[in-house]
């Protein structure tokens, strides 16, 4: 993805704005569910299927959102590649495995699907220096779960046979500081939490109760398998929440289609 621009700007280094008084760190709100999701299918009429996903930002001060968009193009009669994603390394690979489990590839032999996900905006706010030091890439977890959800919606919109709609969900083990006990949160907003110990992103088929992909990262305090299980469980709850949104949007699309014809 290095070669994307032709007008490169000034030769000298430019820096994002640095504020004299740093903005107040965002306060983590206690939620027992995921952030609100806006999902819309069929936004690109020229593609076979497409979907757009946007996450609500619970913090009114930063009216942020994670916007993900997916274009999806199906090609019939090409190589026997089931699914080809062109995105940043690990994200593309994980997304591919997550979706591969859901698509019934046997029905369309010798055909390929191009799945293109464009991340319009991530959770990171570059205006606040405290969120710029997210070197560990916790944000990527959220991006991936959004990618999975939106890709699944677009595949369904394209009418490609799937066993189920895949949904992505994230849960993380966070602690405010070193003294307090760590808690598990669903759909963590990286900027809100002081310290993230571990996070887990799961791609899940809710009706079949199957996991197509799991990405776990971080360190769990002690060899505590219960925490690990809880983290997984919470991720699955997040997946189920996201899946409800997909189902609702697809139902609406079907209804709209019936209304016209």
């Amino acid at each position: 993805m290095a070669d994307r621009r032709r007008i490169n700007g000034p030769v000298g280094a430019t820096t994002p704005p640095i504020f004299d008084k740093p903005a107040k760190p965002a306060v983590a709100k206690t939620r027992d569910s995921i952030r609100k999701i806006f999902l819309k299918t069929g936004i690109t009429p020229s593609a076979s299927g497409s979907a757009y996903l946007e996450l609500e930002n619970p913090n009114p001060k930063r009216t942020g959102n994670t916007s993900l968009k997916l274009m999806h193009r199906s090609q019939r009669g090409k190589d026997a590649v089931t699914c080809e994603t062109r995105a940043k390394g690990i994200l593309a690979y994980t997304l591919e495995t997550a979706l591969r489990g859901a698509i019934i590839a046997d029905r369309w032999p010798k055909s390929g699907v191009d799945i293109i996900v464009t991340v319009v905006e991530g959770d990171q706010d570059r205006d606040s220096p405290e969120s710029q030091k997210d070197d560990e890439g916790w944000d990527m977890m959220n991006v991936l779960s959004g990618c999975i959800t939106v890709a699944s919606a677009a595949i369904a919109d394209a009418g490609i046979d799937c066993v189920d709609t895949v949904a992505g969900g994230v849960a993380a083990l966070v602690c405010k500081d070193n003294k307090t006990a760590p808690t598990i949160v669903m759909d963590p907003v990286v900027a809100e939490h002081g310290n993230i110990l571990a996070a887990c992103c799961v791609a899940y088929l809710p009706t079949r109760d199957e996991i197509t992909n799991m990405w776990f990262k971080g360190q769990l305090p002690g060899a505590d398998m219960i925490v690990y299980d809880k983290l997984m469980e919470k991720s699955l709850v997040a997946c189920r929440c996201a899946n409800r949104v997909i189902i609702q949007e697809l139902n609406e699309t079907v209804k709209k289609g019936q209304g016209i014809s």
Partner: protein, 327 residues
């Protein structure tokens, strides 16, 4: 002609098999009582209604989403700062030479960085994951030159001064700033050297592509720039860095036209360097009537439709001259 045959085909099949006759058949219906319509149901001169939504991105300083039919474009503007010491061949602008001088800060220091991306799967013919296509590059370049030649962004608003000057400016940097205040700002800035500049990164993403890309992209850039709010920035001498305070608006420049202009046909090198606006008309008079092969106009805001016609007339007489010379 093809309409009678196509009666047995469905219109969508006809459109796919031979798109060009299909369009022509729609534009010239066999039955003269029906009004000619385009294949998309529009009248020949009917446009799609644009739909514009601004401030849709939270982390950008300005953003806009423009939807024109099935063409959807998202544009984000981000400001970053660059120190004048990091600019090669930097020359301090004097406050007096605002628009007339040869120094064009925005162009010389590359303060505006527009890029258009088509590789988002917005249409089947643009493959993702490849370097920018010819169309994407052409669009970016056209937008780049238009941004500079139209002088849309007021460069003085991109300058960053040391703190003292900044303090005085701060009160004036309100959302609505009239001309008089703008002059005050120059007076304050006179003895203060510019320490840094804002660089505006303008990124345009095509979400969906259904024709007319330049128009939609430019609309998105206009809407996003109008929406852009940069933090108030000043140079902190102690920390030797640029710091920001809460927000002001970067306003589009309303350029004062002096009113008088001269048209110089066939300019020489000296004139060319001084002219704000150039019009090049290519005509062919060999046939019975004049054919216009190309009109390109760059920069400035003086030449309108009337003047363009005059230019064409000038080009016609010039053609005669050159034709005679060749013969």
């Amino acid at each position: 002609m093809a309409t009678s045959k196509s009666m047995t085909l469905s219109s969508t099949t006809f459109a796919k098999l031979s798109p060009h006759p299909y369009l022509l058949a729609n534009l010239q219906p066999a039955d003269p009582s029906t009004t000619p319509t385009r294949t998309n149901g529009r009248q020949p001169s009917q446009t799609r209604t644009p739909y514009i939504n601004t401030s849709s991105l939270s982390h950008a300083h300005g953003s806009a989403v423009v939807r024109n039919g099935d063409t959807t474009v998202i544009c984000g503007v981000r400001g970053e700062t660059i120190l004048t010491s990091a600019i090669p061949n930097y020359r301090a602008p004097s406050p007096s030479d605002d628009s007339s001088s040869s120094l064009d800060e925005a162009r010389d220091y590359d303060l505006l960085v527009p890029n258009i991306e088509l590789a988002t799967g917005c249409a089947p013919n643009f493959l993702p994951g490849v370097p920018p296509t010819t169309l994407a590059q052409t669009l970016s370049t056209r937008v780049y030159s238009l941004l500079h030649s139209s002088k849309l962004v007021d460069v003085s608003r991109l300058r960053i001064y040391p703190e003292e000057a900044g303090k005085e400016n701060k009160e004036e940097d309100d959302e609505k700033m009239d001309e008089a205040e703008e002059i005050d700002e120059y007076a304050v800035a006179e003895d203060k050297a510019v320490k840094a500049y804002w660089v505006l990164y303008i990124d345009v993403l095509f979400i969906s592509f259904d024709g007319n890309p330049f128009d939609t992209a430019w609309t998105a850039i206009l809407a996003a720039l109008r929406d852009t709010k940069l933090p108030f920035a000043y140079w902190d001498a102690d920390r030797e860095m640029v710091l920001c305070k809460p927000v002001f608006t970067a306003k589009e420049k309303q350029k004062k036209g002096s009113g008088s202009y001269w048209i110089l046909v066939d300019p020489d090198r000296l004139e060319e360097g001084l002219c704000d606006e150039t019009v090049t008309v290519v005509v062919d008079k060999l046939g019975r009537s004049t054919k216009i092969l190309g009109i390109s106009k760059h920069g400035g805001t003086v030449v309108g439709p009337e003047l363009t016609k005059k230019m064409v007339a000038t080009a016609e007489s010039r053609w005669e001259q050159i034709h005679a010379a060749i013969e």
